[in-house]
Symmetry: C2
Subunit: 191 residues, 2 copies
DNA sequence: CGAGCACTTGATCTATGTCAACGGTAGTGG
DNA sequence: CCACTACCGTTGACATAGATCAAGTGCTCG
């Protein structure tokens, strides 16, 4: 994970996987995540970070800055990300958009809770489904990040992803003929 | 669990432990939980309910009704609860109060996620701390509800609570000289 | 070329799940 | 009053999913 990016300009922001969007407690503004996956961590005084939450494309990040001025959680890009300042242009953070963010946050919380219960395979599948786009394509975070999200170990994630791949529930994508270890499409996943 | 209460009057609402506050999808309004613990469940078409989230004293419930008219989750009282309609009196659901609810929801989500990771004992202790009031008093939900929240089994919860009681980390309270199986105060819990 | 990182895979261990039996209390109906 | 049921909690014996430890691969970067 790299040092914070200094370019918090008013326009679009692109972040590579693994990079820090902002540290916990820093000053900033809300963003809309238009592409990618962002991980939030609670950071204790001693510096240990524990996984707190997740944002996926379409989510609003850092709304709490409108209240406190600074971010509550540390935010890290888990895949290639694109962000734009929010609210956009003349549009204000009105009650309706805040209510929408609130409803979405509650829904997201329930989904995250579900990703931390039940059989290991179901958790990983749940996460994959959550992260997949409409076309069923996913770029997964690293095994370690998946492990942090699902409260499993990266070895376990590795075994499960491999097994899903072998059973063709997910199909790995080759880029330029090379096996891309993080890119998949969903196979038979009607359930 | 009893049938829904019909008395959704405009004033204070008191609910006994185990009773349904509202089912998922029903019409209603937001509430402020002034006392007690409420459990939210996602309800699938087939009727199975899975634990989704938790509200504790001070929280606002059912904000999504301002947007959709109906509740997203089923809400059940886990302990004796007291609720009042929200927003109260002339006070409106302005941006600031919504932002506060949003910030609180995100914080709560992070806490819930933490309750579903790590050692079983730590999860139960985490929940107890979350539910304790300033005086360190707690009325715990049933073993089964604690199990649903922490993704453990009620037998495991029983063993852990008993062990905490024996190690004096929590001290059970006697009411009228009778052992109250759900009421505790926290012992040495500086950490 | 060596170092670092992400990932894979095997062997073994253990925390927690599972199954089963039992105790206490509240409610209900005779 | 007792008998009966229902629910919640406790405890023991045993099983197992996933953790842990360990070794090795392949890729990228300097």
């Amino acid at each position: 994970m790299q040092p914070p990016l200094t370019d918090h300009s008013r326009s679009t922001l692109d972040l590579p996987p693994g990079s820090l969007l902002y540290p916990a407690g820093s000053l900033g503004q809300p963003w809309r995540l238009s592409e990618g996956i962002v991980r939030f961590d609670s950071v204790a005084k001693q510096g240990e970070a524990t996984f707190a939450s997740l944002a996926i494309a379409g989510d609003i990040l850092g709304c709490e800055t409108l209240l406190f001025g600074c971010y509550t959680f540390r935010a890290t890009a888990l895949t290639q990300c694109r962000l734009t300042p929010w609210p956009e242009g003349a549009e204000a953070a009105d009650s309706t958009s805040l209510l929408t963010s609130l409803a979405k946050a509650q829904q997201r919380a329930a989904e995250l809770v579900a990703l931390r219960g039940g059989q290991a395979t179901d958790r990983v599948l749940g996460l994959i489904r959550l992260l997949a786009d409409q076309a069923g394509r996913v770029v997964l975070p690293t095994r370690q990040d998946i492990a942090d999200i699902t409260d499993l170990r990266f070895e376990t994630i590795s075994r499960i992803v491999k097994q899903l791949e072998r059973s063709e529930i997910i199909r790995s994508i080759r880029i330029d003929g090379v096996h891309a270890t993080r890119s998949f499409t969903l196979g038979a996943t009607s359930a």
